[in-house]
């Protein structure tokens, strides 16, 4: 039922400006309700962060938007059309980069996979792969296998492969959760820079509240069992964000307090 008329947006913001829309989305897996009547818009160019305790359906939500799962009730739309299968300009970055990369292919070969899927002519691939690897700082490591790269480099490689899709929407599933603090900060800034440069909408799942505030235009807090939206916080912090300046900004500190208090108040 693509093109089906949707009700006016209930989650705030003009629906014409939304690139991804969820309307009363529910999902039951194995007899257990995972997601319960979620309604949410992601606007074009917006950076939405999602936080919540484990079991609140964060990852499932990403899979629904990516088209890897279909809701039992409600609709997920992308660019106004119902999502039935993965769209080729919606990219998904997994947390477990070691499992998401092809161990038998070099860094260049892994990026190439995205171009092969899109049937990009062979002659065009090499320069574009090189440009993408340069962009994420892996230009010197094109011929290395994933196992020869550090965790941060592997995650960069996965990002490069997703950028090869020329994504309008970047879905990220706790992408930096397994990385050390310094690498995490560097990659946070890189993702902000890349998203701003391309005008990409980002849907970013994390369990790190400060990370969510630092990156996001909005922070969606989920509640578990079954997963549903508890609250949405608007983050009105100036961009470009800065690891020191932003984190010391009075508004950041106020939001941080508000967010922590809110989540603590909802813990059972």
């Amino acid at each position: 039922m693509p093109g089906e008329a949707l009700e006016p947006s209930a989650g705030g913001g003009a629906s014409a400006n939304a690139i991804v829309q969820l309307r009363d989305v529910s999902l039951v897996l194995g007899g257990r309700p995972i997601i319960d009547r979620m309604t949410l818009d992601v606007r074009r160019g917006e950076f939405v962060c999602v936080v919540g305790p484990s079991g609140c359906g964060k990852t499932t939500l990403l899979r629904l938007i990516a088209g890897l799962l279909r809701p039992d009730k409600g609709v997920v739309t992308y660019n106004g059309a119902v999502v039935a299968a993965p769209a080729n300009d919606v990219a998904l970055i997994f947390q477990d980069y070691t499992k998401a990369l092809l161990p038998w292919r070099t860094a260049a070969g892994n990026v190439s996979l995205a171009f092969e899927a899109r049937r990009t002519p062979k002659a065009e691939r090499a320069p574009r792969i090189k440009a993408l690897l340069d962009k994420v700082g892996l230009g010197e490591h094109a011929d290395k296998y994933p196992i020869q790269l550090s965790g941060g480099m592997q995650q960069r490689l996965q990002i490069a492969r997703c950028l090869a899709q020329g994504p309008s929407v970047l879905l990220m599933d706790e992408p930096f959760g397994a990385l050390d603090a310094i690498t995490r900060q560097t990659l946070q800034d890189e993702v902000l820079r890349l998203a701003a440069a391309e005008g990409t909408s980002v849907f970013f799942v994390t369990h790190d509240l400060e990370e969510a505030l630092y990156l996001g235009d909005r922070v969606v807090v989920l509640r578990p069992n079954p997963g549903r939206i508890a609250e949405i916080f608007d983050v009105n912090l100036p961009r470009p964000r800065d690891q020191l300046g932003t984190r010391e900004h009075p508004e950041f500190l106020r939001l941080r307090r508000q967010l922590f208090d809110f989540i603590e108040g909802h813990e059972e």
């Binding site: 990516a66 890897l68 299968a85 993965p86 080729n88 919606v90 990219a91 998904l92 997994f94 477990d96 499992k99 998401a100 092809l102 161990p103 038998w104 996979l113 995205a114 092969e116 899927a117 899109r118 296998y145 196992i147 020869q148 790269l149 550090s150 965790g151 492969r161 899709q165």
Partner: protein, 249 residues
């Protein structure tokens, strides 16, 4: 080094006892007699023709049976409804000993290579199907999701994700089937097909030449061992990526 103690000891014991007690038998021979028989047989050149016959049948059967088994394994591994549909027929057919199919195959193809190859193919089909299917099912699910998100079509998903990801385990299936192929080839040749090493073995036995019989037996053993050694070597080279040293994890 220690691995050689028992075989060398057994050989010495056999040789010494044969010489001490002067055994003359229609079913036994001393190691030196076996060696002599092997040498004289080697010089006739028949051995190479027979080996070629056996290996040709084994390899053809392996390729046909293994190829069909692999194709079905990939389909069953990637399409769960098909796997559920075929689970019972497969479980019902699999226990049939391959050599029991001989009478039927004989009726279809008559004597000769086609019959032998068909039976070997039947025997090789099962290990490749069973191990192959579990190899495909065991692929990291994240890789399948990656292939879906990137929008790879079914064919690319098979060739670019499923087969390479499952390759190490598929190769194990292939090695298993290779061992089976030689066993079945020799068996069919002993029982029904007057060609190859199995037939030569029977000829030696029928003409009461135990030394030659043992020589061929040992040769077949060596052949199977080298086949496996070659495949193991290939395995090491094929999966070099898995052995690349980790820099700083």
């Amino acid at each position: 080094m220690k691995g050689w103690v028992v075989p060398v000891g057994v050989l010495l014991f056999a040789e010494i006892s044969a010489r001490l007690f002067g055994i003359t038998s229609d079913s036994l021979a001393s190691p030196s007699q076996i060696l002599a028989a092997a040498w004289s047989f080697l010089s006739t050149g028949v051995l190479f023709a027979r080996s070629a016959q056996t290996l040709l049948a084994a390899v053809s059967g392996l390729l046909i049976g293994g190829g069909l088994g692999l194709t079905l394994a990939v389909l069953l591994g990637l399409i769960p409804p098909l796997s559920r549909l075929l689970r019972f027929p497969i479980e019902a057919l699999r226990p049939i000993p391959s050599i029991a199919s001989l009478p039927i195959v004989l009726m279809i193809y008559g004597f000769g290579y086609r019959m032998e190859i068909a039976i070997i193919a039947f025997a090789c089909f099962w290990p490749v199907l069973i191990i192959g299917q579990s190899a495909i099912v065991g692929i990291e699910p994240r890789l399948i999701e990656v292939s879906r998100v990137l929008g790879l079509n079914f064919f690319s998903r098979v060739t670019k994700i499923a087969l390479p990801a499952a390759l190490p385990r598929l190769f194990v299936a292939f090695r298993q089937a290779a061992a089976v192929s030689l066993v079945v080839a020799v068996t069919v040749e002993i029982v029904m097909n007057p060609q190859g090493l199995g037939y030569e073995l029977m000829t030696a036995q029928n003409s009461l030449q135990p030394a030659l019989m043992f020589a061929i037996l040992i040769y077949i053993g060596l052949l199977g061992w080298s086949l496996n050694a070659v495949l193991l070597l290939a395995q090491k080279h094929l999966f070099a990526f898995a052995a690349v040293p980790r820099l700083n994890a």
